[in-house]
Amino acid sequence: MQISTNQFYMSSNALMQALSSQADKLQTQISTGKRLQAPSDDVVAYQQLQLLSRATANDTAYKANIDMAQSLLDQSDSTLSSIVTQIQRVQELTVEANSDTLSDSGRQAISTELKAIVQTLTQLANSQDQRGNALFGGSQGGTPVTLNPDGSVTINDTGQAAAIPIGEAQTVVPTETAQDVFGGIQTGSGTTDLFSIISGLTQALDAGGSVTAAASAAGDALKTALDHVSDAQASIGARGARLTLLSSAMTDIAATRETQRSSLEDTNVTQAITDLQKTMTILQATQASFTKLTSMSLFDYLR
């Protein structure tokens, strides 16, 4: 086949341009570190990368929620521990009060301490969380527990605490409500709350005389109350453990995801550099042979 002069120049030009653009593509892949520059470079990989990046973004948000829930649970746990300590002190005082040999002034002293404990419990019940809201404030917030001037305590209806999203269709309730912690205590004479149990005892103590009947009733009720709070604490602890598991699973998944992303998207630098070297060598050879071929012409020999 005869190669026309024009055709020779044009095809040499096209070949060298193709090699240059191949080299440029490899150069871009090496310098950006990314194998894919546009979705059309690899449609399937693009779709997977989108899913991976969305999952990563979701997990970032969920991780922040988990961290917040974790610290709310920690705070709930330590507050509940303080409440348990207070209840145990009340139990001790109840045992003390349950003595026939106790003097009226002794009973008075116990009553005074019990009233102080009620104040402490009120403060604990109204403690603020890291978000600036009442820790046991449910969905309403405000003050979940009101200490009335007459010394009685009202537990307000605050609604249920909001569940925090911590994963795809996964939520955790990071606190308890005051109603859950202090109320709902089943005794022989119906449902009551911790403050009523204590105030029943203080009223008996203030009235003077033997309080053995009131004290033994309070002792039974306090045991139930303590179990009630301990249950709540155990539940908080279990939720915390679940979050710890979830959090470490998330870290593992993030590592797997990063490996996947890298294998889909990142340039294999060794291979890219080898390919670039190969392309450059071929380009140089093409340029050299082009120069040689163009310097050859029959006209050079016509003298």
Binding site: M1, Q2, I3, S4, T5, N6, Q7, Y9, M10, S11, A14, A38, P39, S40, D41, D42, V43, Y46, Q47, Q50, L51, S53, R54, A57, N58, T60, A61, Y62, A64, N65, M68, A69, R131, G132, N133, G137, G138, S139, Q140, G141, T158, G159, A161, A162, A163, I164, P165, E168, A169, T171, S297, L298, F299, L302
Partner: protein, 449 residues
């Protein structure tokens, strides 16, 4: 003796012509569309013939019977067809690339993800200002991404229209030029340099026309081309010295229609090759992308507003609409919520710390899958683009081969021209030696005393 002189003189004339043609070839070796020419040289024989016998009585030299253009019409047609196919793919790729850039440039899916994740952060602390502000800004970002993506697609549509009009105008210019060439051919003597020039122009015009729209060509005995758009049964655009005009129109549904105006008639044209076919391809894909994006935008706006309506905001009021969408689809999405306090995080009856309604938003995200739909939109168009690129690579090879095939016949090779030059130069010198010999012989007779 006078015969020898005449024969020598005819050789001089013929080889002068031949050298002239070779020089012409050499001079035009680099010219686009130039076909190699040869001088056809024939022996002149004075013969007497009867029915049964043809007798050559005397040789009378050589004559130039014409200038031949070395072309193969089938190879020309193959180059045109391959060029039309390649141009269609190249132009489709250009538009699909623009659509892809418009769909991915504003990171719509990422913005939607940010919006839903910001809602998750609000759920963790529903009464705090900071997460609400973040979600408010993310909502503005999502609305902005819809607008920007919609606008980018609208811009592609505008570019596509302008480009199609330009191409049609160029095509009509080429058709008019071809009609002039046809006119020239009907007045030119065949097998001359002049007609060869016109035929070169004709073939070049046809090649340029096929790069815009595939054409079907027939030629008559003097080389005048009759051009039909599309197949051989398509509407005529050039016939003799009259040329028609091609017009472009894009309907509201995004479908492209081409029509030929010729001699007062308007006929619909089916274009399956050339840049205009690629534009039609791109227009279809563009309309699909616009529709799908509009559908996602509408569903997103309705979905989020629906969730807002089922909740109460931080001030205890029923949730107001967060977004609004106008008649222009995605480009018309607006954020209409007045303040971050307006985000309806709580379910009815819930307090300021409730986040029950945001669970509905998370459920909407999962069930509606807006982000997935946006990604699907991108991958649909990217897959079409990738397929076209593969096809275009193959078509480029076919086109290159067709050109190489054609040029092996019609292209000028300087080396073979050098050989011809030497050959004709020697023949010229020899002819002049014949004249000298004739003079010498004649002189020897004159010298007889």
């Amino acid at each position: 003796m006078s015969d020898i002189l005449n024969i020598g003189a005819s050789g001089i004339r013929a080889y002068q012509n031949a050298i002239g043609t070779v020089s012409e070839n050499i001079a035009n070796a680099g010219v686009e569309g130039y076909s190699k020419r040869t001088t056809v040289i024939n022996e002149v024989s004075a013969s007497t013939s009867t029915i049964t016998r043809r007798e050559v009585t005397a040789a009378s030299g050589v004559t130039t019977s014409g200038i031949l253009r070395l072309v193969d019409p089938f190879k020309e047609a193959a180059v045109r067809a391959a060029g039309a196919d390649l141009a269609a793919s190249d132009s489709a790729i250009q538009w699909l690339n623009q659509i892809q850039a418009a769909l991915t440039g504003n990171r719509l899916a990422d913005q939607l993800t940010s919006f839903f994740n910001a809602a998750n952060s609000v759920a963790a602390d529903p009464s705090a200002a900071a997460p609400r502000t973040t979600m408010f800004d993310a909502a503005e970002g999502a609305a902005g991404a819809f607008r920007a993506t919609g606008n980018a697609l609208d811009q592609v549509a505008a570019n596509l229209d302008a480009s199609a009009q330009d191409s049609a105008t160029t095509f009509n210019g080429l058709a008019a030029a071809l009609a002039k060439v046809n006119d020239g051919l009907s007045r030119n003597v065949p097998n001359t340099n002049g007609s060869a020039q016109l035929l070169d122009q004709r073939d070049q015009l046809l090649e340029q026309m096929s790069a815009i729209a595939n054409v079907s060509v027939t030629t008559d005995e003097v080389g005048r081309a009759t051009v039909r758009i599309g197949s051989s049964s398509g509407p005529v655009i050039v016939q003799g010295n009259s040329a028609g005009a091609l017009s472009y129109d894009r309907g509201n549904d995004g479908a492209v229609a081409y029509a030929v105006h010729f001699g007062g008639n308007i006929t619909t044209a089916q274009i399956s090759g050339g840049a205009l076919a690629g534009i039609a391809d791109g227009a279809l894909r563009l309309a699909e992308a616009q529709n799908q994006l509009g559908a996602v935008a509408g569903a997103f706006v309705d979905g989020v507003n629906g969730v807002q309506a089922t909740g109460i905001d931080l001030d205890g009021n029923p949730g107001a609409a967060m977004f609004a969408i106008g008649g222009d689809g995605a480009a018309d999405v607006e954020m209409v919520l007045a303040s971050p306090r307006g985000i309806a995080a709580a379910a009815p009856g819930g307090g300021p710390l409730d986040n029950g309604n945001l669970a509905n938003l998370a459920a909407l995200r999962t069930s509606a899958g807006y982000e997935g739909e946006v990604t699907q939109l991108v991958t649909d168009s990217a897959a079409a683009l990738a397929a076209k690129q593969t096809i275009a690579d193959a078509q480029a090879t076919i086109h290159d081969n067709a050109i190489a095939d054609r040029d092996s016949v019609s292209g000028v090779s300087l080396d073979s021209e050098a050989v011809d030059l030497l050959r004709f130069q020697q023949a010229y010198s020899a002819s002049s030696r014949v004249i000298q010999t004739a003079r010498d012989i004649f002189q020897s007779i004159l010298d007889i005393r």
